[in-house]
Symmetry: C2
Subunit: 267 residues, 2 copies
Amino acid sequence: MTRKHITGFSNPTVKYLRSLRDKKHRKRTGQFLVEGLRLLEDARSSGYLPRELVMAEGRERHELLDRLEAEVAAAGGEILTTTPDILSKITGKSNSQSVIGLFDEFATGLAQLDRSAAPIWLVAQDLRDPGNLGTMLRSCDAVGAGGLILIDDCADPFSAEAVRASMGALFTVALAQARWEEFLPWLRCEPGQLVAASLRDAVPYRAAPYAAPCFLLVGNESQGLPDAYEAECDLRVTMPMKGRADSLNAAVAGAVLAYEVLAALDS
Amino acid sequence: MTRKHITGFSNPTVKYLRSLRDKKHRKRTGQFLVEGLRLLEDARSSGYLPRELVMAEGRERHELLDRLEAEVAAAGGEILTTTPDILSKITGKSNSQSVIGLFDEFATGLAQLDRSAAPIWLVAQDLRDPGNLGTMLRSCDAVGAGGLILIDDCADPFSAEAVRASMGALFTVALAQARWEEFLPWLRCEPGQLVAASLRDAVPYRAAPYAAPCFLLVGNESQGLPDAYEAECDLRVTMPMKGRADSLNAAVAGAVLAYEVLAALDS
């Protein structure tokens, strides 16, 4: 197993990896970074290996890292070592993880989704916060949802923050991206109930008539869902709001609703 | 109503306000900043006015801002104007809000809590992410919880990120900070059920025997709760985990549980 050592902040590989912090470069190249052994191990155990593994020299040996390194090499991937400083420069974090991996982005078309594979799907519209996006992926994994469908202008699921917040769920649940104009015809081609968390013309979320496959639609953090989108839903449900505010964090709303649907469909 | 105009990055007021981005300085001075008209209006409508209001010169007039300015002045607060650049320097954000307010931190002792005031309380232990902390405050408001009790080494609830994520709930629900060694005797002085979201020796969270006042304890983002803390709980409940992961985001877990308790206590 050969390791290539890279030095120098102006090394082209360093520059390339560093450029992937920008969404623009990720889109152009179709690649993204995963930071930290824990997430890399989550990826590996879900069948995803990085094309390149970049490790800080002098880091302590670790059984999981040894195995990961061997598998990446066996799959024809590249093993690079570098200094902790350069690794920090790549990730932009002063206290950087000591290992990162370079992955190809996944295809995120609607056509690849198998909607019969799961009774629950989460759908987020204009979700701008990458932490919320990652948290929703994590919730998908927890409730056994098929995956997360990102509608219109959402945050980038391949950003470092979204990947981290997903706690590895990026590699275990399906992910799709579509405009509303594509999503709606796709949804209506086959049976499927579209449910919105809503304040308007809504029934209480407890014991609402949920039916699988159930697509739970959550709107933008500050605007909520457009009226026209809500009007297309088969069911609008509302959660109690006992205080002064009239909404929950988007990822929280999605999870509370998803757990309710899980219980309803299981019983 | 007199406005003071401040210019120059080295102005002492600018330096002082800027220093409040650091937790250390907030602790020392007992003051914190709230950024943006929306949050300032949430504070005002909950009865909290800033000691100082700092506005970017040349910003468009806004009815809510006019009222806020008048009320701050009437209460003896100071009205400052400055340049957008200096406001950005204070907040550390390139795309800064055009108005910020300076507030005194609240007292956060356990003794000030009125536990009979609400049937649900959220308790977070070693919660490190300020976004999660603010989100839990927001969830408290939504479920009608009395407030959030922060145990051990949590993020600072007065940080800009926590305040923002709370969406104003920092001003509507009670907040306390305590070590576990203080919290437990306080809890046991009066009736109250301590419930942990747990994986060990736990009953399903749906239809568990919840009793008001119910204190819902959620652990650190990566470690969960210490065994000894779980052992002190009156009830340990678990949520279904259908996927590969064995936990939810801490703020999500707290909210799913809180909504379940709300439904159980209401029925």
